[in-house]
């Protein structure tokens, strides 16, 4: 293990480490803690210049106010309407592409695979105008559906990379044996490969959920009104309206951040497994 385990050092060093940990954490999360504190600060505190001290009282009504005076509930609902279909669509498509690229050897296999990989790295701006025109043309501009369709297509690139590598690491004998038995190819997919892909599916579901929930650029490009905007775009426009009402901005931020944070803490193992794919050989 590197560095040398702290258990092997002197008690003084061990004690120091135990003290350093929480201090480092507080420093690291300081801006976040500040915002969390501001979100429960009564407006009067801010007016009196009490920005850092403890709040004079816990103003939970900031949260109520955010829901009452802004369409944030609607924004959150829109975010789900974009995120959930995207997760499902992406997983369906990438299980299939991953299967095709991971199991079969055919001409163009590597080429198609690296097209998916390279497509991932492309700057969004080079897609912006044509994708916007395309969405317009399909009559889906300013709909959650139009936004979800783009996300499905783009995330399929990333997920294909992941799925394909996962599938090609499965034991080949399994598939060869099935073929000898005369099992049809689609049955191999459905009954043999798919059940083995569960961990990959779980990891990607969490990752894609977080990525799409947090997307801001495409939300601003493809949606314009409060009835369709997801929470990231909505928060940005609320920030313009709530100038200096930091207690509301903070409460709104916390609300917007909550779903992916919950997702992360509930599915941590899968999340990290997905994110660190390829970090070890």
């Amino acid at each position: 293990m590197f560095p040398r385990p702290i258990a092997q050092s002197t008690p003084a060093v061990r004690g120091l480490y135990q003290i350093a940990l929480p201090i480092a954490l507080i420093l690291w999360l300081f801006p976040l803690l500040g915002v969390a504190m501001t979100s429960v600060r009564p407006a009067s505190d801010l007016a009196q210049g009490n920005y850092f001290g403890l709040p004079s009282s816990f103003a939970w009504h900031n949260y109520v106010e955010v829901f009452q005076n802004s369409p944030i509930g609607r924004y959150i609902f829109n975010s789900f309407k974009v995120t959930i279909p995207t997760v499902i669509g992406t997983l369906v498509l990438s299980c299939m592409t991953g299967f095709a690229l991971g199991i079969y050897r055919f001409k163009g296999n590597l080429l198609i695979f690296f097209m998916f990989v390279a497509g991932n790295f492309v700057p969004f701006q080079i897609l912006m105008v044509p994708v916007r025109d395309l969405t317009f043309g399909m009559g889906l501009y300013n709909t959650t559906m139009g936004l979800a369709l783009f996300h499905i297509a783009f995330q399929t690139g990333f997920c294909t990379l992941f799925m394909r590598n996962f599938i090609s690491a499965l034991p080949r004998e399994l598939i060869e044996a099935a073929r000898v038995e005369g099992v049809a190819e689609w049955q191999i997919f459905w009954y043999i490969v798919l059940p083995l892909m569960r961990p990959a599916i779980a990891a990607l579901a969490v990752l894609v959920f977080t990525f799409i929930w947090n997307d801001f650029f495409w939300a601003t490009v493809l949606t314009t009104s409060a009835s369709t905007q997801p929470v990231t775009a909505g928060l940005s426009s609320l920030n313009g309206q709530w100038i200096a009402a930091w207690q509301l901005v903070s409460a709104g931020s916390i609300i917007a951040a909550l779903p992916p944070v919950l997702m992360f803490f509930l599915m941590q193992r899968h999340f990290i497994a997905g994110l660190t794919l390829g970090a070890v050989k």
Partner: protein, 307 residues
């Protein structure tokens, strides 16, 4: 969708039998590939073409040839954006060593360390919009924490985001926060998989501290470093959200980056110059392409080596 091939087409069944080996992968690829080509591959070419036209998004396109690109050369806002992109790239790279440093700090087995690790990773899970708002609050003039801090130290508060010299660095610092967390998690996973016998052997040879890190640990962390560099380069060039949330490109356009400037030209109140915007996007794509081809080349080489 494959069910259709079982019963309904009995006469063709033997044909299907003999051809399913090569047909199956293409049938499985078709939907995903079609979506990807429609939404990702084709738009790239379409943008290239668009960059040679004058187009406002609604009217007819007017052929300009290379005029949009010629205009870029004399455009000061473009130069500022390009310069800022370089600053982003360089400064953002700090995320890699800093992420490694935190990973080494946290790679222990004391009680509760798992919770510490996840809390350190926390900033990456939050949307960049929220990160931008958090740091705007942190930097806010008159009452922001950083303003107060500089006031205490120098007697005069600095409102970073209002200062054209410093604003970009202020945004980059905000961007580094989640990026360091990302690199940290990559390295934590990497450190977990470093071969213990090699470390022990090196320890017996008297290797310690930085020497050990440099000669024994880092070579084993190479895959993690590769991914950390890739995601950091892409993150730096994609920086749009933070600029948009924290400064809108200001003050005086000093924090624009190519991705933001493109958006401004093509889709904002400054006018719908989509052809010109596309030309900016093509330049950004070109810069990204230098890195992409490097990364993909390395991946192809690894892939060939595996087979």
């Amino acid at each position: 969708m494959t069910v259709a091939f079982t019963d309904a087409e009995k006469p063709q069944r033997s044909w299907w039998r003999s051809n399913q080996q090569w047909l199956t992968p293409w049938l499985f690829l078709a939907p995903g590939l079609a979506m990807f080509i429609l939404y990702v591959i084709w738009p790239i070419f379409s943008s290239f073409q668009l960059s040679l036209y004058d187009y406002d998004g609604l009217g007819t396109k007017v052929w300009l040839g290379w005029d949009n690109y010629k205009e870029l050369f004399g455009d000061r806002a473009f130069k500022t954006s390009l310069k800022n992109n370089v600053i982003w790239l360089v400064m953002y790279m700090l995320a890699v060593p800093l992420g490694l440093a935190i990973a080494i700090f946290l790679n222990q087995t004391v009680r509760g360390i798992r919770i510490y690790k996840s809390l350190f990773f926390f900033p990456f899970v939050i949307s960049q919009v929220v990160v931008g708002l958090i740091f705007s609050w942190f930097y806010a003039p008159n009452f922001g924490l950083l303003y107060k801090l500089t006031e205490m130290l120098t007697g005069k508060g600095t409102a970073i985001l209002a200062n054209p010299e410093l604003a970009t660095y202020g945004i980059i610092a905000a961007g580094l926060w989640p990026q360091i967390a990302y690199c940290m998690i990559l390295y934590l996973t990497g450190l977990n998989n470093v071969a213990p016998d090699q470390i022990e052997a090196a320890r017996l040879d008297g290797a310690k501290g930085l020497k050990m890190l440099w000669y024994v640990i880092l070579p084993q962390l190479r895959p993690a470093t590769f991914i950390a560099v890739v995601v950091t380069v892409i993150g730096a060039l994609r920086s749009f959200d933070l600029v948009s949330i924290m400064t809108n490109g200001g003050p005086f356009g000093s924090t624009r980056v190519l991705s933001y400037y493109m958006y401004e030209q093509a889709l904002s109140e400054y006018g719908y110059r989509m052809g010109y915007g596309a030309a900016i996007a093509v330049v950004l794509f070109g810069i990204m392409m230098i890195f992409i081809s490097g990364f993909v080349w390395k991946m192809v080489r690894d892939e060939r080596g595996n087979r």
